[in-house]
Symmetry: C2
Subunit: 134 residues, 2 copies
DNA sequence: ATAAGCCCTATAGTTAACTCTAGGTCAAGA
DNA sequence: TCTTGACCTAGAGTTAACTATAGGGCTTAT
């Protein structure tokens, strides 16, 4: 099955602009073209784009994702680099999860703070203790 | 206890530039000044900045954080808005956690993919099945 | 009293990741 | 044939969030 750029954009919830931008940045060297230059995406290209989106969602900048794509093109000699990169991504995601957990605790604290204030009709209910007055 | 802008920057792992930028964007209307204009931070200002950092870490843009700060200045009439905002943040963080979990699964899959390839010395070990060739 | 070191404002510059416009090609339908 | 609509490139514009510079003011140590 083959897809046009706008079909892929819809599938991945991106715009065609974004996909062309990724291509320009060297993230999609594998996508083939018709003789007149139109991009033709195959199933495996979409899989690769899903990995790219995955890496992006870990906060990895596009230039670093390009390194990975280049390594992929370079073949088996870069297996170690790619393995190390994913291990590093794993660590990064773990840290982000920890960070989010802490954020969640503060947010939940604020939710109950405002619930109490709302029930009382005033924030003054909290003003007796010194912390958390925001 | 009072603090200078650079002391606060160090405490919160930000730069003085960033703090002045926040101030310019209206995030710190509560910070007092000496007669000649120098900012003087008190403990409660630092607490407020921690909340701002917390909101920022949920992905909230500075302009929306400013809305919240404005509501805080407006007093009890905005308690509902502030409560709703934190509930919304809570939902957002929950979604981000879900997203990160999915990301983690893919990353871990890639880790074992590359571990296997590395042990075999070649990525070809995976080439028999059609998916996941990246 | 003068230089160092911190503070200030206003404003310009940077970076990442898009997002859009202009100008053009090509294929299919009325 | 001619128009519509999808595709293309090159390059300009946008936005958020800083980051830095220029020019100036206090305070403190030599």
């Amino acid at each position: 099955m083959k897809y046009s750029i706008s079909e892929v954009a819809k599938k991945l919830d991106l715009t065609a602009y974004t996909l062309r931008y990724y291509d320009k940045e060297g993230l999609m060297p594998f996508v083939e073209r018709t003789p007149n230059g139109t991009r033709v995406f195959k199933e495996s290209d979409i899989d690769a784009l899903k990995i790219i989106e995955c890496l992006k969602s870990t906060g990895m900048p596009i230039k670093e994702i390009k390194n990975f794509i280049d390594w992929c093109s370079d073949g088996d000699s870069t297996l170690q680099e790619r393995y190390d990169m994913f291990l590093e991504r794993k660590t990064s995601v773990e840290e982000q999860m920890e960070e989010l957990k802490k954020t969640m605790e503060l947010i939940e604290h604020k939710c109950s703070y405002y619930k109490t204030a709302l029930d009382a009709g005033t924030e003054d209910i909290h003003k007796t203790n010194k912390i958390g007055n925001f």
